[in-house]
Amino acid sequence: MQPVNGMAETTLIQLRDVSRIDSNSGRQLLNPLSLTVCAGDKVGLVGASGSGKSTLMRSIAMLDPFSGELLHRGSPITDGAIPVYRRKVVYLSQRPFFTGGTIEENLRLPFQFKSAKNNLKSPSYQPDLVAAELDAFELAPEILNRASESLSGGEQQMIALIRALLLEPEVLLLDEPTAALDPASRDKFEGRIHRWHNASNNTTNKNQKEEKAYLWTSHDRTQIDRMTQQTITMNHGQLMLTNETASVTHDAREINGPKNEQQLEPSDD
């Protein structure tokens, strides 16, 4: 762990012996696993359907009850702070969902939650930022007035990503985000994630230094190669190809070797 550009690699999320059992069937959905996600990480999560990838992601977002310990920047998260934590560690599902109403109302919705209003550090809804995001995705501004059902699958997923990015998250949990998209939409999506991660971790201004990471699940091996630097393979609710106490930043990299393309994060190798 070498300081790069004068900053040490920050531990964002730590899972300690996290496991999950389906309380109805008694089936072990997630075997006890430990995992560390550091700033700058771009982690690929691969494995067959039902191997526990989504379960792991949902556990990191604390969307399901699990046993074990989860630390955010070294501290456990109190129950009341979970909504605020989820704004920092945003889970994006394969299929985007919207509430009724227009796209603009959907984009504004998270800013009406208590976790936004009661938190001074929370960003506010900025229309010009939204306009810039739409522009980046080559979406017409008129889309804001449309109902979500009238959008194509690709447009919906882009809006879902914009909605997540407006929260200024630290970690994005991308659960097969482009599985249902056409290649053109997929490229735009990947490009945006890339710029988001890149801008934050390559910034020269230390005061504006924001530390970001993402986990990405996909059945598309080439996408994993393109978008991630470390790979975790899951099988039957178990982490494979990493040491049990793996910090993905280090151990997974030893196994898989550093990817040579798109080496954009501050790296210690």
Partner: protein, 291 residues
């Protein structure tokens, strides 16, 4: 020209005498008791239904039969029980019967619900009990004020009406809440993932369920007196009450029933919401299951 008066006075006699002989004598005014034969005439009407069902192969003839028999037995038992309790005129049996009715209403409210969670019966009974008893107590003790206060002739029918309506509301509300929650799972979870509290994520579903539960009583109130004459008023008119008195009672009971439904629905939904979510702002989906 036909003499109207003659016609009116002779017609009933002729028809009764010729069609059904000595069974159907014109009754004395104010006498509203029915013979078992007269009840049987009504039953034959349903028989027509059953025959149609058999002819068309609707497959509901058996259900018509069983629910008719069931209804008859239930009401016959109620009649016998009420007879006993009316004669005893003691508070304990009155409250005992009220309690049994309440528990049955609470259990029945869950019967037709598609999705359930482990403590749903307890919650339903609690919600029915609280709403119906609070509202009925106010009605009996502050509005109707019978002597003695536990008069079964007042307490039991009033509670029965309140329970029947409250259980329908609770049943509709719970069914809608749980099925909507399941149907809108993606939407609810997306809100949670974007920082909603558990209440913020469930509020929309909660409101919709409440609205659904209130629809029947709102419909009933809006057509009362135009499309239908409500049951209680019908009963009072048959028993010879003054129309204005019957109307006042009916208005009062409508308000009382609506209040009971509102309390019961909000209570049952709040308890359900607490039971399918947890303090970590998660929805415990695995608790919501089809029976």
């Amino acid at each position: 020209m036909i003499d109207v008066q003659t016609l009116a006075s002779t017609m009933p006699n002729i028809s009764h005498a010729t069609l059904l002989g000595q069974f159907l004598q014109p009754r004395a005014q104010g006498d509203i008791s029915l013979s078992w034969f007269e009840v049987g005439v009504a039953a034959t009407l349903l028989l027509i239904n059953a025959i149609i069902s058999l002819q068309l192969g609707l497959g509901i003839a058996k259900r018509i039969a069983t629910s008719s028999v069931r209804m008859t037995i239930q009401l016959a038992i109620l009649g016998l029980v009420l007879k006993q309790i009316f004669e005893l005129a003691q508070p304990t049996p009155v409250l005992g019967l009220a309690a049994v009715m309440t528990v049955i209403a609470g259990v029945s409210a869950v019967k037709r619900i598609d999705h359930r969670y482990p403590t749903i019966y307890r919650n339903s009974i609690f919600a029915v009990w609280t709403s119906a008893w609070v509202v009925t107590s106010i009605t009996v003790l502050l509005i109707v004020r019978p002597q003695p206060w536990y008069s079964p002739q007042v307490v039991i029918p009033l509670l029965g009406m309140v329970l029947g309506n409250s259980l329908t509301g609770i049943s509709l509300g719970l069914d809608r809440f749980l099925s909507e929650l399941k149907n809108r799972r993606g939407e609810v979870e997306t809100m949670l993932a974007l920082g909603a509290t558990r209440w913020e994520s469930c509020r929309g579903v909660f409101i919709e369920a409440t609205r659904t539960a209130m629809i029947p009583i709102l419909n009933t109130m809006s057509v009362a007196g135009i499309v239908s004459i409500p049951g209680m008023m019908t009963g009072q008119l048959l028993a010879g009450a003054e129309p204005i008195d019957a109307v006042k009672y009916q208005i009062m009971i409508m308000f009382v029933i609506a209040a009971a439904i509102a309390i019961g629905v909000v209570l049952s939904l709040s308890l359900s919401y607490r039971n399918v979510t947890n303090s970590q702002h998660q929805i415990e989906w695995q608790r919501i299951q089809r029976p």
